[in-house]
Amino acid sequence: MPTASDELIARLRARFPQHILAAHAYRGQPTVTIRREGLLEVATALRDDPATAFDVLMDLCGADYAWFGMSQASAPTLRTPSPLPYFMSPAPSAERWERGVPHDAQHRFEVVYHFYSTAHRRRLRLKVPVSFAEPSVPSLAGLWAAANWYEREVWDMFGVVFEGHPNLKRILMYESFQGHPLRKDYPINKRQPIIGPVN
């Protein structure tokens, strides 16, 4: 029996076949990876179509996949902890998930959106891969006011430009800060104090 997530994914695949790169559902939550060219179109449809009606932008964040999968900690495998004591638990089954796009400079960053529909009480995760050479996506601040500060944060931390943002400047770090600290290639012990020695 197709679940609500499958239906949503099927609906998006039927309507935007040219934009969708990958899709999967995990524990009742659908995740759809789309091309950045289609973001505005898909997001507008998700918000305005009464069948989806995602009226809340719950979260918006960035991710840097520069060294994804190169260490144990970032291996693309999820192990779900069992609630039972160890001697009653079944052998852990690895649940593998894929990004749906290759890990290369073309898809180094990802902007992740989480939507919620108060009418249908349903959530959706939307991922948009962004290249290293041209890290930019269209801004959603005109569709959801909540996007404004989130996008400033992603710009501040990852250096992803949001085209059409009304006020794209740093929100957490100070204006004189150089670089974007959550990029994987930002040196882990590099400091830029405003006063005092560099320590």
Partner: protein
């Protein structure tokens, strides 16, 4: 007019001692609270542990009226100029207490955002380690600060 130097020295020493004794029981602190250590600071300040026993029961929220700066919680590089400004606004004599490992050394926030010890920004008199420090630990630090005040010492 000739001055009896021996007597004068004796007089000033006694005056310093009296001033130190008076100051150590009238600590007007300015709590600069930024993070989780603030909870422990409040626990220490309220009646169960009762900082008032040491004459430090009356926080002043203007640096111009305070003589001990309690820096309580993580200080980021963005905030450091403001902290320094608060310190500069305090009148002499003034003392600084670093409350919690974040202010002592940066603690486990060894990253791009956090000042690695507020002594890179201002002189510190007493370091109270712990994440957060227990109230007993804080009172111990406060007593050490009182000894320092009584001796008329200042960190520069």
């Amino acid at each position: 007019m000739s001055v009896d130097a021996a007597k004068l020295n004796w007089m000033t020493t006694r005056l310093d001692a009296a001033l130190g004794w008076a100051r150590k029981f009238s600590i007007f602190q300015y709590p600069f609270v930024t993070a989780c250590c603030g909870m422990e600071y409040m626990a220490t300040a309220t009646s169960h542990y009762d900082m008032d026993r040491f004459g430090a029961g009356f926080p002043r929220f203007s640096p111009r009226q305070a003589d001990v700066l309690f820096v309580v919680g993580t200080i980021s590089h963005k905030l450091a100029p403001m902290l320094r400004r608060v310190y500069d606004q305090m009148t002499e004599p003034k003392w600084v207490v670093a409350f919690g490992v974040c202010t002592c050394t940066g603690g486990f926030y060894d990253n791009y955002a956090t000042v690695q010890g507020i002594d890179t920004v201002m002189p510190v008199d007493v370091y109270i380690p712990g994440c957060p420090p227990r109230p007993e630990n804080v009172l111990d630090g406060l007593i050490k600060l009182q000894e320092k005040i009584a001796q008329g010492e200042l960190a520069r």
